[in-house]
């Protein structure tokens, strides 16, 4: 397969169309495995130095959602940079399509974090560095979406929002540093320091399965959104007319 060919919207449109059901199915299966494992194969209580009861199961969605939110912002900024450097239309559309899904996962990370915080810390919102970082990431997503929708001219909207995404990406390490280390001389204010090696396998497997499920879901959702964006923007071209005429009949 010639991958460069896929850079043209005309070739990518049907390609994405074929992939959506596959990713959708993969997402469903993986999420179900994660759910099933997490609820029926893990113990009800978490012992150790930090004993937790059933509510710890929230991490099976919280952690994957938080991971996805950060990963998708990277994807968003990467496509923005590619678009600005190589001036490829599809990259901008890709970035635009990623943003809402990323924002949803960020919101979910915040929501599930709050619900975990209440039984765990006794409050829905604590200025925990990781939750605060998610909150700021959420603002960055909202900024991208707001700027893009405030500009009528598509090209300016694409490029301006892309630049904002890159500026955001450059600032993210600094923002996270300032949140994690409000005192520059010591940075250990995390509520719970987690060491990936110490996580029990029965917890890690559902968490990873759920993450992969969310990842596949993101592919499906982003491709679906991308197809609509492509069609709207390319409506004048011959291939798009054919597609529209064809799909309108079915």
């Amino acid at each position: 397969m010639n991958w460069f060919k896929l850079a043209s919207p005309a070739a990518f449109y049907p390609f994405a169309g074929r992939l959506i059901p596959r990713f959708g199915l993969a997402a469903l299966v993986l999420v179900l495995i994660g759910f099933d494992w997490g609820f029926f194969l893990t113990s009800d209580q978490l012992g150790g130095s930090n004993p937790q009861k059933e509510y710890y199961r929230i991490i099976f969605v919280h952690v994957p959602a938080a991971w996805m939110s950060m990963w998708l912002y990277l994807v968003l900024a990467a496509w923005s940079a590619i678009g600005l450097v190589f001036n490829t239309r599809l990259s901008f559309m890709m970035a635009k399509a990623v943003a809402p899904t990323g924002a949803i996962f960020t919101f979910l990370a915040l929501w599930t974090g709050a619900l975990w915080g209440r039984p765990s810390w006794g409050t829905y919102w604590d200025w925990d560095p990781r939750l605060t970082s998610e909150l700021l990431l959420f603002f960055l997503y909202i900024g991208y979406i707001a700027l893009h929708s405030a500009i009528d001219d598509t090209r300016r909207a694409d490029r301006a929002a892309a630049l904002l995404a890159i500026v955001g990406l450059v600032m993210v390490p600094v923002i996270f540093l300032s949140i994690n280390c409000p005192d520059p001389t010591q940075c250990a204010s995390l509520h719970q320091r987690s060491d990936p090696g110490s996580i029990h396998l029965s917890i890690l497997i559902p968490m990873l399965s759920m993450t992969l499920g969310f990842w596949a879901y993101s592919f499906a959702a982003v491709f679906a959104r991308l197809r609509t964006i492509i069609l709207t923007r390319e409506a004048d071209s011959a291939w798009a007319r054919e597609v529209i005429a064809q799909e309108a009949r079915t």
């Binding site: 009528d152 001219d153 409506a235 004048d236």
Partner: protein, 218 residues
């Protein structure tokens, strides 16, 4: 000197022009015509490098203007719909700043003389917001007198000018062409030249217009 090939420009959902190509040698004036909305201003902004074309290339003395960037802008004088004057500054200050930024600073006497030539003697120390529309335009046009740029791109320079000023501007343009420069301009006015060539470019109407009768190209 200016070499345009296969230029295309879209604004929003609409194709303004495509496959546009021409060469503009020295000692030439390019007169761009077309109806309202036919893309005249967009074309001029593309030629300035303010607007990125959707296809095609523009070369200045053989090099792409994207790569020349600032070097191209040094050779260029653009006169847009807006006068580009700060209303709170005097004509003198406006022109002094403009010439400093163009890296061709001129002394105060030259500016005062330029303003006098364009008929604004005694107005040089007034904030431009106190001037009339036509006078503001004259202050802005005084940049043409001070400019040494070989390429002028002028968007509707004749509007809001009275008969004397129009005639003076025509002389300026024809002097620029005679001195070996090039001028691109949009106007409904004819510009008589003493020396040099005139090219005409008509941007066609979109065929969606019901009464579109003009042929697409001349």
């Amino acid at each position: 000197m200016l070499d345009v090939t296969d230029l295309a420009c879209r604004r929003g959902e609409r194709d303004l022009f495509s496959g546009l190509g021409f060469q503009l040698p020295a000692r030439t004036l390019l007169h761009v015509r077309g109806r309202n909305g036919s893309g005249k201003t967009s074309l001029l902004r593309v030629l300035c490098g303010l607007l990125r074309p959707d296809a095609g290339s523009i070369r200045w003395r053989g090099e792409n203007i994207r790569e020349l960037a600032e070097d191209y802008h040094r050779d260029l004088l653009y006169f847009g719909h807006l006068n580009g004057l700060k209303a709170d500054l005097t004509g003198l200050e406006n022109l002094r700043i403009a010439s400093t930024l163009d890296q061709a600073p001129v002394d105060e006497d030259a500016i005062i003389e330029a303003l006098a030539r364009i008929g604004l003697e005694g107005f040089e120390d007034l904030p431009t917001r106190m001037l009339s529309q036509g006078q503001k335009k004259r202050v802005a046009l005084a940049r043409l007198i001070l400019s040494k740029a070989p390429l002028w791109i002028l968007d509707e320079p004749f509007t809001a000018l009275d008969v004397d000023a129009v005639e003076f501007l025509q002389q300026l343009i024809s002097a620029q062409v005679a001195d070996g420069g090039s001028v691109v301009l949009t106007t409904h006015q004819e510009v008589p030249l003493t020396r040099g060539a005139i090219q005409r470019l008509t941007l066609g109407e979109t065929v969606d217009d019901l009464d579109a009768a003009t042929p697409a190209a001349h």
